[in-house]
């Protein structure tokens, strides 16, 4: 059974979601992961999108490219103002958030703002959008990204979205009493954070991946869990559902 890295990411992300949760999803892979979860083990999972949508259904072949198109409102349950959607997260109503990033550091901090200095950047990236809000306000955040050395840097140039900041206790000290980046899902494996140091830790490898591959693609030392598991490969059902959702393969 062959599959692309993107398909692998979607499947692994979908498996993290529970039936009794609310999830804050962005467009692209996160949206596909949520739709997949809903069509498999989590039919009651409620999706929230920053453009102002609660409980919409993803339409196969009509995948949105931004978080505020009517493609995301199909059969929605409610369409609140954007600000109020985020306030629901601030109030504690959103369990899980998915984000990605151009740079991710060993504490799970994310940069989507600038490469280089802020005022005269080498590369001006699009910016936070809702990523900072999701990382600050959802009860738990999962980073979903391809695993590339240029992304996994010791220190991000700019903390757009807070992970563990400088390590254990730092979020609380900053006033963030809730939320945390709980895990990182890449096309190589599943990662958590070491409770003592707050640093990235490899928990499981996907079929056929090795610790060496992870080390090669990471710009800092990755901690290893006492026992590194192996994830179950995507099933035919999971892949079939994904490929039906994105038949044009815009994102897969």
């Amino acid at each position: 059974m062959s599959y692309t890295d993107s398909e692998l990411l979607c499947v692994m992300a979908a498996r993290q979601l529970r039936d009794d949760q609310t999830v804050f999803a962005g467009v692209g892979l996160p949206l596909l992961a949520v739709a997949l979860a809903q069509k498999t083990h989590a039919p009651h999972l409620t999706m929230v999108v920053e453009g102002g949508v609660i409980g919409a259904e993803v339409v196969p072949g009509r995948l949105p490219i931004s978080t505020n198109e009517m493609r995301l409102a199909h059969r929605a349950l409610m369409l609140p103002p954007i600000t109020d959607i985020f306030l629901l997260a601030q109030r504690g109503l959103i369990d899980v958030g998915f984000i990605g990033g151009a740079q991710i550091d060993q504490y799970g901090n994310i940069n989507t703002s600038v490469i280089g200095p802020y005022e005269r950047p080498k590369v001006r990236l699009p910016g936070s959008g809702g990523a900072n809000d999701i990382a600050s306000l959802c009860s738990e955040v999962t980073i979903v990204t391809l695993h590339e050395r240029r992304r996994f840097v010791p220190r991000v140039d700019f903390i757009t979205s807070p992970g563990g900041l400088s390590g254990p206790g730092a979020r609380q000290a900053a006033g963030l009493h809730f939320g945390r980046v709980a895990r990182v899902i890449t096309h190589l494996g599943l990662f958590g954070f070491d409770p003592a140091s707050g640093r990235l830790r490899l928990d499981a490898l996907h079929p056929g991946r090795t610790v060496e591959m992870v080390r090669e693609q990471t710009g800092f030392e990755v901690l290893l869990a006492p026992e590194i598991g192996t994830t179950a490969p995507p099933t035919e059902t999971e892949l079939a559902i994904l490929r039906r959702l994105d038949a044009e393969r815009r994102f897969l």
Binding site: I65, N68, T83, V123, G127, T160, P162
Partner: protein
Amino acid sequence: MSIRPADFIEARRRRAAKPKGARDKRLEAAEAVRLVRDGDVIAIGGCCFSRTPMLLLRELLRQGRTGLTLVRNLMATEPEPFLVAGAVHTLITSWMGPGLPWGLSRVLRHYVESGQVRFEEWSHLGLGLRFRAGAMGVPFLPTLTMLGSDLMGVGGAKTMACPFTGETVALVPALFPDVALLHVHRADPLGNCQIDGYVHMDPDIAAAATTVLVTAEELISEEDTRRHPERTVIPGLLVDAVVEAPFGAYPGECYGLYETDFGFYDAYAARLAAKGLDGVREFMDEYIYGPATHAEYLARFDPAVLARQQQYARELVGGEPL
């Protein structure tokens, strides 16, 4: 002089000084945009590809306003012509990009990386709360978002110890735009606005701004408004000008009426990739400076495509499974 962030006193003074009686506010786009001055801080309604007030933005460029600050929660490509025209010195937003399939904005990169234009970044909620504080007439709102991140340092947010709990909270300063440009589904001559689907941040933006210019897909009567007062999302007493503009957000989307013309944005991206900023200049000559009227502008699009985008929209928001 634009209103300084958090200066709720000056902001209120300007609002309170305006006559508020119910009157006919219908204007042509060109007349409405004459209410904008060089140097104004301009808030753009809608979000990204949704309900962008394209007609008003084109008119703003046609009238050659300069020294502008553009503010919008999420920006797509609509600021690019302003950058190329040298009309703006600052962008205030949480995100700007041409959309997922097209990567980064080459135009944004050129002007910001070269230091010609300032990019003031906020989180999406952070900027939304700046509009809301303005709408409420208070100098700031408290929030937990952005705490601990480097965004706290770039736009002027502050932290404080909550006097009730002692906990640290972030404070974002109210934003009071000089002008709000909005596109809505329906408006009556008094300025009462109806929006279908996403309202995005438009009601807050309208109340935060000093002057509010609205284009509407359809003009309705005061009687229509009175028949369904629950549909009014922006009260006429906030509005200065109402302009009739069918397809006023095209090639972007207007919820339930027409979907974004992604083919158009593909072509725009291709032209930009091939010719860089000159590609944008070509686009501006063809679509902004060329057409003398909104009708002439719309005539540049294939009617079959417009009809198709309308059909897509109906399918998506009909509520029936697709």
